[in-house]
């Protein structure tokens, strides 16, 4: 796919940004920080009404038949607005997992709900500190699914989860319905992420993909979610870049705009560099994935996007607050919404070190 956005894609970028900004409400987002187990219903209603939930799903299942490029553009808009619900990314991940399986019945049962947003899906791959353990401890047997998955984004509200587990000793992507006894919500520093620990004990679950294909599928799902997240990080970093620039132009110290001091001026210029490099990596990565299946270099491209976007958002959060001085650390100014989100997104889909190691393995064949 091309590295240049076509008109339709540019329209999605503009429109989603317009809508996300218009419906975002800082006071509401700030309030959510102090309310465990809640999310921004206005945003989620918007995402469903705008068809963002359906964007990258096949038309056969009520989707719009677009792809990662378009979903990435929407994620950039929601990232800029520090959107108050995390369901788009895992919804897409779960859909890809379903599509990579070959169970027509399961697809027909769940994909339309994911497309409409009626069904909230979580992706529960991680165990311990690994976003995708070599041999998960979660087990699927004749009795059902048994195992624990810590800190799953969206799981406090999700109806289903795609779980990375062992089925008869083989790695597998497994789909389970989440009931309240399965989840223990977690209070976090970014509460609208709907975090919960999941614990299944002989819960009913179906295999989506199993064996060697499952490992490849799991990597593909995680990499696609990482690319969506990278777009979200770029959106957040770019929003901060503009906030910092605008403040540096208006705020005065010692009789001149603080943007005239090189410590401020050059720092903002460096942010521009980080944002543009991450954006370019995101566009490239998104262009390497197809409706299902990806180019051979997709993992590398996804890792590059993930790494540069994480660095960009973290640096932008640190520096934009610093550029603001005292006003930058007040609750009301709300720059900490970005700082908290930057940390959430740096950890969801696996931290920098994990992606560095994956990338180097892809580049050199040498495992960490």
């Amino acid at each position: 796919m091309s590295l240049l956005y076509d008109e339709g894609q540019q329209a999605i970028a503009t429109e989603s940004r317009k809508v996300a900004d218009a419906r975002a409400d800082k006071a509401r987002l700030l309030a959510l920080l102090e309310r465990g187990g809640a999310y921004d219903e206005t945003f989620w209603a918007t995402a469903r009404e705008q068809g963002w939930t359906a964007l990258a799903l096949p038309e056969d299942y009520g989707g719009l038949g677009l792809g990662l490029v378009e979903l990435g553009l929407v994620a950039q808009a929601t990232g800029a607005a520090t959107a108050g619900a995390p369901f788009l990314t895992p919804g897409y991940g779960a859909a890809i997992a379903l599509l990579e399986g070959d169970d027509a019945e399961l697809k027909a049962r769940w994909l339309p709900g994911i497309a409409s947003g009626e069904t909230i899906a979580a992706v529960a791959f991680a165990e311990g500190q690994s976003p995708l353990p070599e041999r998960p401890t979660a087990r699927l047997t004749a009795e059902g699914l048994t195992g624990e998955k810590p800190g799953v984004t969206g799981a406090a509200h999700a109806h289903i989860a795609v779980v990375w587990a062992l089925a008869d000793g083989e790695p597998a992507l497994v789909l389970a319905e989440i009931r309240d006894e399965h989840r223990r919500p977690i209070d976090g520093f970014d509460n609208s992420r709907g975090l919960a620990d999941l614990a299944f004990a002989n819960a009913p679950a179906q295999v989506l993909v199993k064996g060697k294909a499952a490992r490849a599928a799991a990597h593909d799902v995680l990499a696609r979610m990482a690319v969506v997240t990278a777009h979200e990080q770029v959106g957040g970093a770019e929003a901060l870049l503009h906030i910092a620039r605008d403040y540096a132009l208006t705020r005065k110290a010692f009789g001149q705009p603080i943007g005239a001091f090189q410590s401020i001026k050059h720092r903002i210029a460096e942010l521009y560099g980080l944002v543009e490099i991450a954006r370019a990596n995101c566009i490239h990565a998104a262009s390497r994935a197809h409706e299902t299946g990806s180019e051979a270099d997709f993992l590398k491209a996804a890792a590059a996007a993930r790494i540069s976007a994480t660095e960009a958002y973290d640096t932008a959060a640190r520096d934009t607050i610093q550029v603001h001085g005292g006003i930058g650390v007040t609750w009301e100014t709300g720059l900490h919404l970005h700082m908290r989100r930057a940390r959430s997104l740096a950890i969801e889909q696996g931290n920098l070190m994990w992606w560095e190691d994956l990338l180097v393995r892809e580049l050199t064949g040498v495992a960490a």
């Binding site: 500190q129 976003p131 799953v152 607050i321 700082m339």
Partner: protein, 401 residues
């Protein structure tokens, strides 16, 4: 054993003896108000035990000991996490200035003792919304009013103002001269009519700083401290006073051991985190930085003991330590992956990486931002030129807003 060592041991014993009642573990989960109440009791006990106003003259209620004795005590006290945060600024800047400039000496002595005992708290009213790091740009007006003055304007970032009985303030008494020249320094009764305190909630969720509004607040003539128009000098003096403070190479975040203990329990790529080169590098670089800062502090102490002036490198402590604490805290959270997303908003910044990370930006800005500290080092220590200042020498009321 040197008198100083002897003093240190006595301090340690006394602190251990009162720790069960006052130290951090005893106060877990207390509201700020309850914690403050415990703090007032602690300050009274400290006063009665002879550890208050250590380096102040006995005439005004101090112990008449050296700065080193004070630093020694503070270092011991810091290790216990005693409830002293509310009184740090009060005793650190306003009270010493009151001691030096206060006109009614009996009244001054009463205030000093009550402040030492934690019965009264003083705040410092310097920063303003327009000001930032540019103190002399302040706009709060002090107009003559009979034999006294009338105060109008707004201050901001005032620590603990909501609990304060008095404050020291710099206001503009003459807008027609250059901005540094038209300022005068006063003390003010925070309970006086026309004073309104509005707490500011910070990114971490707490509200230890405030906006303070002054609406025709009356000041008696003897509330002035220093000359009319001499306020900037007194203010600078205030900021210079507390040079002998206990430093913290952890940047007021968790000790490096806390990071190592965490890393022992974690994995990177399903291998022990402590075996990963990136984690080892972070630990080693932080250790090297912190041990350097600690050696600088120990050397400064020895020089003071030897009656010498410590070197200017002491000014590096906050800049270097807090900035690296921010990144180490991020790493500590990232390393935990999905298992580290749980967060307690009331956790203690020296024990919890989430709290340390969330409050680190405040640390990099409050009490001199990184940029201000770098300018100070460059100008005062290295003799590099001051930044361009278009407003230099311009009458305040002719500077474009």
């Amino acid at each position: 054993m040197s008198d100083l060592e002897d003093f240190r041991l006595r301090a340690r014993d006394w602190l251990a003896s009162v720790a069960p009642e006052f130290a951090r573990p005893a106060r877990r989960g207390l509201s700020v108000e309850d914690d403050l109440a415990v703090g007032r009791r602690y300050m009274a006990a400290k006063y009665d035990a002879g550890f208050a106003g250590i380096n102040w003259s006995p005439e005004i209620g101090g112990q008449g000991l050296s700065n080193l004795h004070k630093i020694a005590f503070d270092a011991e006290e810091m290790a216990w996490g005693m409830p002293v945060g509310y009184f740090g600024i009060s005793l650190g800047m306003p009270i010493p200035i009151l001691i030096q400039y206060g006109q009614d000496r009996d009244w001054v002595k009463q205030r000093v003792v009550k402040a030492l005992r934690g019965e009264e708290i003083w705040c410092q009213l310097f920063s303003e919304p327009s000001g930032g790091s540019d103190l002399a740009a302040l706009r709060t007006k002090a107009e003559t009013d009979g034999n006294g003055w009338k105060l109008n304007g707004q201050k901001v970032w005032t620590s603990w103002a909501q609990y304060c009985d008095y404050g020291v303030i710099v206001a503009r008494s003459d807008p027609t001269v250059a901005k540094h020249k038209g300022l005068t320094y006063f003390w003010v009764d925070m309970k006086a009519p026309g004073v309104e305190v509005r707490p500011i909630k910070l990114a971490g969720g707490d509200s230890h700083v405030n906006e303070v509004f002054f609406d025709d607040v009356k000041l008696a003539g003897d509330q002035r401290m220093g000359e009319v128009g001499g306020g900037f000098g007194v203010a600078l003096h205030t900021l210079m006073i507390e040079r002998y403070i206990a430093t913290d190479s952890a940047g007021f975040g968790p000790h490096l051991d806390v990071f190592v203990d965490l890393a022992r329990e974690l994995e990177v790529n399903e291998k022990p985190a402590l075996e990963d080169g990136r984690v080892r590098s972070a630990i080693a670089r932080n250790y090297a930085m912190r041990s350097g800062l600690e050696a600088i502090t120990r050397r400064a102490m020895l020089m003071m003991e030897a009656g010498m002036q410590p070197g200017p490198e002491g000014s590096l402590q906050k800049l270097v330590a807090v900035r690296s604490r921010q990144k180490l805290s991020e790493l500590a959270l990232d390393l935990q992956g999905n298992t580290g997303l749980a967060f307690d908003p009331h956790a203690y910044v020296k024990e919890d990486w989430g709290a340390s990370w969330l409050n680190a930006p405040t640390g990099r800005i409050a009490g001199g931002s990184d940029e201000v500290l770098l300018n100070t080092i460059a100008e005062k220590i290295l003799g590099l030129p001051q930044d361009h200042r278009p407003d230099k020498g311009v009458p305040f009321n002719q500077i474009p807003a």
